[in-house]
């Protein structure tokens, strides 16, 4: 193939998934009646047709080398009629033909891939994450590394279903937050306004840089005869939007950036519906390679949740019921003025009632 040959848009669109469906999925498409959980990470779906489809969910680190992915394929070829799927949280789902295949399949997953089976139902699910220092140009921390460290720590919780409900965790490596709203999230936090590299600013489109700032803290300036911008420090709230627009506004600081933990996000419309995650604690050190302080904080939350929540209560639902006062008391996190919203809808987060727990 000649690299010089100009490429033309092919507009192929999405792959034809029908070709890729497991045969049992194809036969019973839209006819599933119910499912049963057999053990953590293993369940069976029953169809109107009477057919059963077993699923074995293996935890994956998302990043896969070609050789590793080929080994995954080998297993699927052997047990799953050459079909497999990934979940929306990067797990790999194997669908063996027969119930008897489950155990050998699991053994092989463990032996050949080193992957755990679990991450379903009321367990600690796989952590969704972003690029981090491995590939992005904006991160203040890593992604895959924190996730590896946390999942080592909560491996038991991944392979067992011992929580009141599923626990979903995400991490993000800069304040853009490509990671999701989840029960628990680990995000980056800056502690001062961006530092401007006036020499480099000229490479950015200044009107765009100025208009990206949500609090209008950036205004045009001239330094040594060149157009540049300045940041009004009183207004700036360290959000980093400008840095994503223009790398010359460097918001990151390896010295002072910290990690914060957020709790109670939810996407499902179950019961009370979706909810934002809220600040649990901040100021945790960005401490590679294992970020022990982050793990410790997540552990505190999980312990309190496990002890306090009713069945089926997600983390946020539990906190809403027992109250944030109790959440802070039970996790030992300090409630600070920074926990109080100061942005656009701040007032709507205030306790506008005489409801107090004393």
């Amino acid at each position: 193939m000649d690299a010089k040959k100009p490429l033309a848009p092919r507009d192929n669109g999405a792959p034809d998934y029908k070709k890729y469906l497991h045969p049992a999925m194809e036969r019973n498409y839209g006819r599933w009646k119910y499912h049963r959980d057999l053990r953590p990470g293993v369940f069976v779906h029953e169809s109107e047709s009477g057919e059963s489809l077993y699923t074995v969910r293996a935890g994956s680190p998302r990043m896969l080398s070609a050789p590793l992915l080929r080994r995954v394929c080998d297993i699927a070829d052997k047990y799953c009629q050459g079909r497999l799927r990934f979940t929306s949280r990067n797990n790999i789902e194997f669908q063996p033909e027969k119930e008897e295949d489950i155990q050998p399949l699991m053994d092989e997953i463990s032996r050949v891939l080193g992957f755990p089976v679990g991450g379903s139902g009321h367990s600690f699910h796989n952590i969704i994450h972003t690029q981090g220092w491995l590939h992005c140009n904006l991160p203040g921390t890593d992604a895959a590394g924190i996730v590896k460290a946390l999942l080592d720590m909560f491996y038991e919780e991944f392979t067992h279903e011992n929580f009141p409900q599923r626990v979903k965790v995400s991490t993000s490596c800069c304040t853009i937050n490509c990671g999701g709203q989840t029960d628990i999230a680990i995000n980056l936090q800056h502690h001062h306004p961006p530092v401007i590299d006036h020499g480099m600013v000229s490479r950015c489109e200044l009107p765009k840089v100025i208009s990206i700032c949500p609090v209008l803290a950036i205004r045009p300036d001239r330094v040594e005869g060149h157009d540049t911008v300045e940041v009004i420090e009183e207004k700036c709230m360290y959000c980093g939007a400008c840095h994503a627009q223009c790398p010359a506004l460097e918001i990151r600081d390896g010295q002072t950036d910290t990690l914060s933990i957020w709790v109670g996000g939810k996407s499902a419309s179950t019961r009370g519906g979706p909810s934002f995650m809220k600040l649990a604690t901040w100021g945790l050190p960005n401490n590679p390679p294992r970020w022990p302080e982050v793990g410790d904080a997540v552990r505190r939350i999980l312990k309190a949740y496990q002890a306090g929540a009713n069945p089926y209560e997600r983390v946020g639902e539990w906190i809403e019921r027992v109250g944030w006062k109790n959440f802070f008391a039970e996790t030992g996190f300090e409630f600070t003025k920074y926990h109080i919203d100061s942005y656009r809808w701040a007032r709507t987060t205030f306790n506008t009632s005489a409801h107090v727990r004393l």
């Binding site: 304040t175 937050n177 995000n187 936090q189 502690h191 001062h192 530092v195 949500p214 700036c236 709230m237 360290y238 959000c239 460097e250 600081d253 390896g254 010295q255 002072t256 914060s260 109670g264 995650m277 809220k278 600040l279 604690t281 901040w282 100021g283 945790l284 050190p285 401490n287 302080e293 809403e320 019921r321 027992v322 109250g323 944030w324 006062k325 802070f328 996790t331 030992g332 300090e334 409630f335 600070t336 003025k337 920074y338 926990h339 109080i340 919203d341 100061s342 942005y343 656009r344 701040a346 007032r347 987060t349 306790n351 506008t352 009632s353 005489a354 409801h355 107090v356 727990r357 004393l358």
Partner: protein, 418 residues
């Protein structure tokens, strides 16, 4: 007097102010002209009053001056001012006191009053410039005082509280008088950025309707356990049936912390938010705890500029029994007035001020510790304007405090960032 439109308000079972005013018009002709002007408003869907400031010497408010646009047509209402008179706490009166008000009102004005204005004052209507002074003098001579207006503290209303209510968790009447008297200068000689209203309710039922109508609601509460008379509970459960009790009492608890076990009530008081519901419905069997005090809230107001604002928790619990408690309460109030007074903009209610500077900054300014009870939930956006460079704890360093602020990070040799 023929008033084709207003006359229609003489009919119907509810007491008619038109009828009453028509009667009074026979004694005080200005009331007749008042009705005639009102009739014209009804006809034209238009108002005919103009207002300006007019003060009793030494007072910066308390009089609502009104001049009629139809002064030529209705000369007796050309000046028709209202005097706001501070009401008796709890709105309790002797007939003697009320008769005195009647006399003053008729001696100098139109002899009509509103009991009470929305803020709590006695509103005495219908004085001209001169009589207004005389009436004020007469009121003050007799121990009454003028109410508030302008950029100052307002007359304080309270619920009947301990005078006649079993729910009262503090002495609303006493605090009303105490605050009014102590801060009477702030009421008479306004010097705040804008108005400041207290409203005092003895419990969360908020019979003073304070939450969205006052800058500082003070609501009675308790910090020990709800008092339960299990025998009375059993009687109640028998009378109403357990299912009724579950459906209407326990399942309505906002935190589901109250349960019916057989004919006993059990409460997880640590999760009770003092919402009053169970006590209200089962008031023969349940009562507020014994260790009582108040929750101080802040920032409520109605519509102008803000839309609508309901007050939010500022001090979750403050005792209010000893003199020291009262002084502690006042210290908080005064710190608020200082901070808002210094930094508030003209015409900026304290709630709007908080919206502008942020509740966190406000707490700093008034010296109150942040408390999770102040919020329905912590922030959901990461836009935190840290004042500190948060110093990460690194391995091997002392593990102190949950949010790490104590020290600067060590500088690694090969640090290349920023």
């Amino acid at each position: 007097m023929k008033l084709p439109l207003l006359d229609q308000l003489e009919e119907g079972p509810w007491p008619s102010f038109v009828k009453d005013l028509k009667e009074q018009a026979k004694r005080r002709p200005q009331v007749g002209q008042l009705l005639q002007q009102l009739e014209q408003s009804y006809e034209n869907r238009w108002d005919y009053w103009r207002g300006t400031a007019i003060n009793v010497p030494g007072y910066g408010g308390g009089i609502i001056a009104r001049y009629s646009d139809l002064g030529e047509k209705f000369p007796q209402v050309a000046q028709f001012h209202t005097i706001r008179v501070i009401e008796s706490p709890g709105f309790v009166y002797s007939t003697e006191a009320l008769r005195q008000l009647c006399d003053i009102s008729e001696d100098y004005g139109a002899g009509i009053m509103q009991l009470h204005g929305m803020t709590g004052d006695i509103l005495m209507l219908g004085f001209d410039n001169e009589k207004m002074m005389q009436a004020s003098e007469a009121l003050m001579e007799n121990g009454w005082d003028l109410g508030g207006s302008g950029n100052g503290m307002r007359t304080i209303p309270c619920c009947i509280g301990p005078a006649r209510c079993e729910m009262a968790c503090y002495d609303t009447l006493r605090l009303t008088k105490y605050l009014t008297d102590k801060y009477i200068g702030y009421l008479h000689r306004p010097e705040f950025p804008y108005k400041y209203k207290f409203k005092l309710s003895g419990c969360g039922n908020d019979c003073a309707n304070s939450m969205s109508r006052s800058d500082m609601p003070v609501i009675g509460t308790w910090r020990d356990d709800i008092q339960v008379d299990q025998e009375a509970v059993a009687r109640f459960v028998e009378e109403m049936e357990p299912e009724w009790v579950v459906r209407n009492v326990t399942s309505r608890c906002p935190t589901r912390c109250i349960h019916l076990h057989g004919d006993r009530i059990e409460i997880d008081n640590s999760n009770c938010v003092r919402c009053m519901h169970c006590i209200n419905v089962m008031h023969l069997a349940l009562a507020p705890g014994k260790d009582r005090g108040v929750t101080m809230l802040i920032g409520g107001k109605r519509t102008v500029r803000s839309g609508e604002m309901i007050s939010s928790v500022l001090v979750p619990f403050q005792k209010l029994e000893s003199d020291e408690d009262y002084l502690a309460f006042c210290a908080i109030v005064e710190r608020i007035w200082d901070f808002w007074g210094e930094h508030g903009n003209e015409h900026e209610r304290v709630g709007e001020f908080i919206d502008r500077v942020g509740l966190g900054t406000f707490l700093d300014g008034v010296g109150i510790e942040p408390d999770p009870q102040m919020v329905a939930n912590p922030r959901s956006n990461p836009y935190i304007k840290f004042e500190e460079y948060a110093a990460p704890r690194l391995e091997g360093e002392p593990q102190k405090g949950a949010n790490v602020l104590e020290h600067e990070p060590d500088r690694r040799e090969d640090y290349e960032g920023s």
